[in-house]
């Protein structure tokens, strides 16, 4: 069998940068992502396998990036994002019923940071992103403009916006336009 060169990876937003005086909009680094589904009763064994506590409260996360971050998306659904390790093989160690599906390439992410970051998101997201209900560490699947996204607040003025690959052009363009008015 003829050996061929390893196929190169082409990320959907490679090379794009945007922003304004109040905010930077940049594509996030490639990451491994897993959609984890399980009965929360099995959270303990899964947490052990993953090396962090699966969040069980709505809109919360555990861990941080770079490294491993797990976001609660639904009562039996978590999104695992990992920039260094291999969560799929870690999960294989958990001998409890669950579903782990590789979605590394399904999603891509955009980092929105700066004092206008929240206002930039609020141009398209109807959910309340205020400190009292969306503090650092909060995460939620929601909508932005005309697409579905997962918004994760990674720091006081930093957010990670996860969206599906083919919607990433729309998401990036939307955030770039919203950035213009983020200090309103």
């Amino acid at each position: 069998m003829a050996k061929s060169a390893q196929a190169v990876r082409t990320e959907p937003l490679a090379g794009r940068v945007s922003g304004s005086a109040g905010v930077q909009v940049t594509p996030a680094a490639a990451a491994v992502r897993v959609s984890l589904r399980a009965d929360p009763e099995n959270a303990k064994a899964l947490s052990k396998a993953l090396g962090l506590e699966l969040p069980l409260k709505p809109k919360t996360t555990a861990g941080s990036l770079p490294g491993r971050l797990v976001a609660w998306l639904g009562p039996d659904e978590w999104l695992i994002i990992d920039e260094t390790g291999d969560p799929l093989s870690d999960l294989r160690k958990a001998k409890v019923l669950h579903s782990a599906v590789d979605v590394s390439h399904r999603n891509t992410a955009i980092l929105v940071s700066g004092k206008g970051a929240r206002a930039t998101l609020e141009s398209g997201c109807p959910q309340n992103l205020g400190d009292a209900v969306f503090p650092v560490g909060a995460a939620s699947r929601t909508v932005m403009g005309k697409i579905e996204v997962v918004i994760i607040r990674t720091a006081d003025t930093e957010y990670r916006v996860e969206c599906w690959r083919s919607f990433s052009t729309y998401a990036f363009d939307f955030l770039s336009e919203s950035a213009k008015d983020c200090l309103a």
Partner: protein, 998 residues
């Protein structure tokens, strides 16, 4: 000099700051902060346009958002032109071009003015009567003329070059209105620790203090108090003050839409700024402080330029430093006009007389008038006015008769009292309540988390308004959960003149016995007579009166006219006014641009455009794309000199002769995982999945509960507990939703989870005799031989060094593979495959060729060959319906009598007798081409193509009882000819399927 009517020392503008603008081409000067209305009046111009129906000369009625008359076309440049802008809210900017509307050839001489003399033709309801006969004339004569004459402004013809922004914001307390009450409520809420948004539609807060200079709060003049409170609010970190911002829609659960005009007042706006911002506020509590609007007097010829609301004249004087005339008459039923008269007189304007319909106006006011040398005519009316393009005189006397006299004037100010602005309250679904003593509709019980304060609640005393607002603001903050905050006390004293007196309906000399033109609704040209006519013609509900007369239906939504119209109707009906009822207030409060509503959703952001990982390569290789939902899919790849037909023919031939590569990434994919995965699929599909071994795949059909085909696709079993399901491109989201619905609500006991993987995988279909040869050297860890990997199997391995799920399957009838790789590798793997395929003579093909190739094999496309009323049996797919399964979605629906009845439309092949004729998709099929019209249609064409491989046209269609008609001749009647067709089998190539296993 910024106009001859400026009064030195009056107003709050800075005279040195002048700006230039034009009105109907004439260069004029204004002062920064002027509205177009104040600037025009300063320059002696009252005439600003012609009215809607009668083309009567009109000028400014008001100084605010309620303006019905002065609608102007405003432009900055060729592309930035806006019709129907209210002159009273548009601030003048340097270089602004303003143009009057609805006049031809000129404002002063308007041909349409003839309508004024033909007015009997245009009485209320004229649409419904005048143009009834002859019937044929409606389409050819009446409608075109009415359409040409209707409407005030002219829409811009250029695309809007500006951009608009949207902001969703959440706050504890939203205060609507920045007058004394609103400011107080905002301050109270802010000091109680709440997150507060205060919006006000004017450039500066202060509300009634724009005109009322007699008020003071804690010893400070009202205007200054308002500005210092606003500064205090702006300095607080928990407060956002939005000026030039109108709350125009109060929706469910305190969702209030505001529009902020960001650049409309700027001469050279920063291009980065949006023209307008839509603020979608979600407030825990709302305080409505929308004030009150003065009403005009309804009397004969009350619409001449120069006749305006008293508060407007006072605003022009006290805020803009502009006298509305040199000799100003006053006609009133309310004390507020007296205050305006006094201010004008003291500013040096001649005020010949105050005509008050009341027999005994407040003696203190009368005394003050005498002291200033103003004649007082109590118990009298203005019976008529004169003046063609500007009011010249008023005829004064008692309505009952007696002596009359003409008084020369060049402006006439009026007040029939004040209407509380209950629009926002009403939009919040609160019901207004009639207050008999004050003769007003007031807010009743609030049905959302909101409160009304100030003049909009009928509170006339400033001190009471402020005390109420302070309480409400504090209560709103507490109700919103604000806990922090510091001690704050409301203003201790507030003094202002309190204005008594009001009247509704027509004044003396314009009663039912007269036929004068006494305007109620200026913008729609509705007179008191029109409303009476409506009642006489049987309109007894105010909703009917409104629609018959169009009273209150113009863009000003009857802010000045509704109450007058209601009172006249009530009088005619002999009913108390509250029994006649008020029409409903609806959003928007004032007109809102489409730009603000659409905001970001323009151009590329109108709708997401979805591209596959291989899109760049396809584009670079000349693909023409077609839209499939939001996806851009390569349609065909024309070579230089080829048209679509030639390109598709070449692609079709090449795939069957050599091979082709096709981007199938848009197919929906769902990973079904769990020990009960097969059982779940048994319920979702008509097929049985128990016996499908890992490594094999199968074509599945999904029904709705009604038994009709919903979707289809190939399902591969990756492992005992893991399936890779594919759906149609368009069906992906709804199939996922459909499956989740059953899993969560009907079959929650099943241990299975669904994950959308549509975008995880790039999918490259390689189809044709050389397919295996193309992929083989790039694949690792998979035995591709026919024996090891037969048709309809799936393997996991590597291709080009990256993981793949390799399907052996075919939608062309050729030997084929579908290479699934993680999406970011799609382009690289495609290129590597192309590097092998191209030298062999293979091609890239698009969706058109895919459609032709599958049709040659009789493979259906759900949504093209099915339309939501096709059963598996209709489509000839009974083989895919498991006979022994106890249950699946659709099992009962497909056994309904109608679905089993003979004569159903069945999918068959349709071949034209003339092989060169390609049928039109959607064309109807008949058995007898000579029958009379309307013909009995027994079916229609669903798919039709030229098939280069068959050397003739091919088609599929659904025909009643089609399968039993094979060999029969049927007909497709078309406008130019009738086409003879034969009913056939739907497989046109390789009926035995040998090519699949090559």
């Amino acid at each position: 000099m910024s106009g001859t009517n400026r009064i030195k020392g009056k107003g709050r503008l800075t005279p040195a700051r002048t700006v230039r603008f034009t009105f109907d081409g004439k260069a004029l000067t204004a002062i920064e902060g002027d509205t177009l209305a104040s600037a025009l009046i300063a320059n002696g111009i009252h005439l600003t346009g012609r009215s809607y129906k009668y083309h009567r000369p009109r000028g400014m009625l008001s100084a605010g958002p309620e303006e019905p008359n002065a609608l102007i076309d405003i432009s900055r440049d060729a592309a930035r032109r806006t019709p129907n802008v209210r002159a009273t809210v548009q601030e003048v900017f340097d270089g602004m071009r303003a143009k009057s509307q609805n006049r031809w050839p000129s404002l002063a001489f308007d041909v349409g003015g003839i309508n004024n003399f033909a007015s009997p033709l245009f009485a209320a309801g004229f649409y419904y009567k005048t143009f009834m006969w002859p019937k044929a004339a409606w389409k050819r004569v009446y409608e075109p003329i009415i359409r040409a004459a209707a409407g005030l402004g002219v829409s811009p013809s250029e695309p809007d070059p500006d951009h608009y922004a949207n902001h969703y914001v959440h706050c504890d307390v939203l205060v609507i209105g920045g007058g004394a009450a609103g400011l107080t409520a905002a301050l109270a809420a802010a000091h109680a620790g709440a997150q507060v948004i205060l919006c006000d539609e004017q450039p500066e807060t202060g509300g009634a203090f724009h005109h009322d200079t007699d008020a003071s709060i804690d010893g400070v003049p009202g205007w200054e108090w308002a500005q210092s409170v606003t500064a205090e609010l702006r300095a607080m970190s928990n407060v956002k003050v939005l000026s030039r911002t109108t709350a125009f829609g109060y929706q469910a659960q305190n969702h209030v839409a505001l529009v902020e005009r960001v650049t409309e007042h700027l001469s050279n706006p920063d291009a980065a700024l949006p023209r307008e911002r839509l603020w979608q506020v979600r407030a825990k509590q709302v305080v409505i402080a929308t004030g009150a609007i003065e009403r005009h007097m309804v009397f004969a010829n009350n619409d001449r330029p120069g006749i305006m609301l008293a508060s407007a004249a006072r605003t022009f004087l006290n805020h803009f430093g502009v006298a509305v005339g040199a000799k100003v008459g006053v006609y009133t039923a309310c004390d507020s006009a007296w205050a305006a008269a006094f201010d004008l007189k003291q500013a040096g304007v001649s005020v010949p007389a105050i005509v008050d319909v009341r027999m005994d106006p407040d003696p203190a006011l009368v005394a003050r008038a005498r002291e200033l040398g103003i004649e007082v005519l109590a118990g009298q009316s203005v019976l008529d006015t004169s003046g063609k393009l500007r009011v010249k005189s008023m005829k004064v006397g008692r309505a009952s008769g007696g002596s009359r006299r003409d008084i020369a004037i060049d402006a006439l100010i009026m007040s029939a009292g004040w209407t509380p602005s209950v629009h926002m309250y009403s939009q919040s679904r609160g019901k207004v309540v009639w207050d008999e003593p004050s003769q007003r509709f007031l807010p009743g019980r609030h049905v959302q988390d909101c409160a009304s304060v100030g003049a909009c609640t009928g509170v006339d005393d400033l001190a009471d308004a402020i005390a109420g607002a302070a309480k409400a603001g504090h209560a709103a903050a507490r109700a919103a959960g604000a806990k922090a905050g510091k001690a704050w006390s409301a203003p201790k004293s507030a003094t202002a003149a309190s204005w008594a007196g009001s009247m509704m309906g027509s004044a003396g000399g314009a009663g039912a016995e007269t036929s004068v033109k006494a305007f109620v609704d200026f913008q729609n040209d509705v007179t008191a007579k029109d409303i009476r006519l409506a009642v006489r013609e049987g309109m007894h509900s105010i909703e009917h009166v409104k629609r018959f007369t169009t009273n209150g239906m113009a863009t000003d939504q009857g802010k000045t006219s509704n109450i007058h119209g209601l009172a006249i109707a009530a009088e005619m009906l002999g009913k108390p006014l509250p029994q006649v009822g008020l029409t409903t207030f609806r959003a928007p409060y004032t007109p809102v641009t489409f730009g603000a509503i659409v905001n970001h959703s323009r151009g590329s952001l109108f709708d997401p455009t979805r591209c596959t990982p291989m899109h760049g390569w396809e584009d670079a290789h000349g693909a023409v794309f077609e839209d499939v939902g939001q996806w851009k899919r390569a349609w065909y790849y024309p070579r230089p000199g080829e048209d679509m037909h030639q390109a598709v023919n070449r692609e079709c031939r090449t795939v069957r002769d050599v091979a082709g590569m096709f981007d199938a990434s848009t197919l929906g994919k769902i990973e079904v995982v769990g020990p009960d995965a097969a059982e779940f699929l048994n319920l979702m599909y008509t097929n049985s999945w128990d016996k499908l071994e890992p490594g094999r795949c199968k074509y599945g059909i999904m029904l709705r509960e009604d038994g009709f085909i919903y979707d289809d696709g190939v399902v591969g079993r990756i492992a005992e507990d893991r399936f890779h399901v594919t759906t149609t491109t368009g069906g992906a989201p709804r199939v996922m939703h459909h499956m989740e619905d059953y899993l969560q609500t009907e079959f929650p006991h099943l241990r299975v989870w669904l994950t959308s993987t549509t975008e995880q995988w790039a999918v490259i279909a390689i189809q044709g005799p050389k397919a295996r040869e193309i992929i083989a050297p790039l694949v690792e860890g998979i035995d591709l031989s026919n024996e090891a990997m037969p048709h309809m199997s799936v393997r996991e391995g590597r291709i080009c060094g990256v993981p793949t799920r390799l399907f052996r399957m075919s939608f062309t009838g050729e030997t084929g593979y579908e290479v699934n790789v993680p999406a970011d590798y799609g382009e690289a793997v495609w290129k590597a495959l192309w590097a092998r395929a191209e030298p062999m003579g293979a091609c890239a093909y698009g969706t058109e060729t895919m459609h032709v190739l599958r049709a040659e094999k009789g493979y259906i496309i759900v949504g093209q060959d099915t339309d939501g009323t096709v059963t598996p049996d209709d489509a000839g797919l009974n083989w895919a319906v498991a006979k022994k399964k106890p249950d699946f979605v659709g099992i009962r629906g497909m056994k309904r009598p109608d679905l089993l009845a003979p004569g159903r439309k069945q999918l068959v092949g349709l071949l034209t007798r003339d092989p060169n004729i390609v049928l039109e998709e959607g064309a109807q099929v008949v058995a007898d081409p000579n029958q009379s019209l309307p013909m009995t249609m027994i079916g229609h064409v669903t798919s039709s193509y030229w098939s280069e491989n068959c050397g003739r046209s091919i088609a599929m269609g659904v025909v009643a009882g089609g399968r039993s008609l094979k060999g029969t001749t049927l007909y497709v009647p078309m406008p130019e000819r009738t086409i003879e067709i034969e009913v056939t089998d739907a497989v046109f190539i390789d009926k035995e399927g040998v090519r699949l296993n090559g």
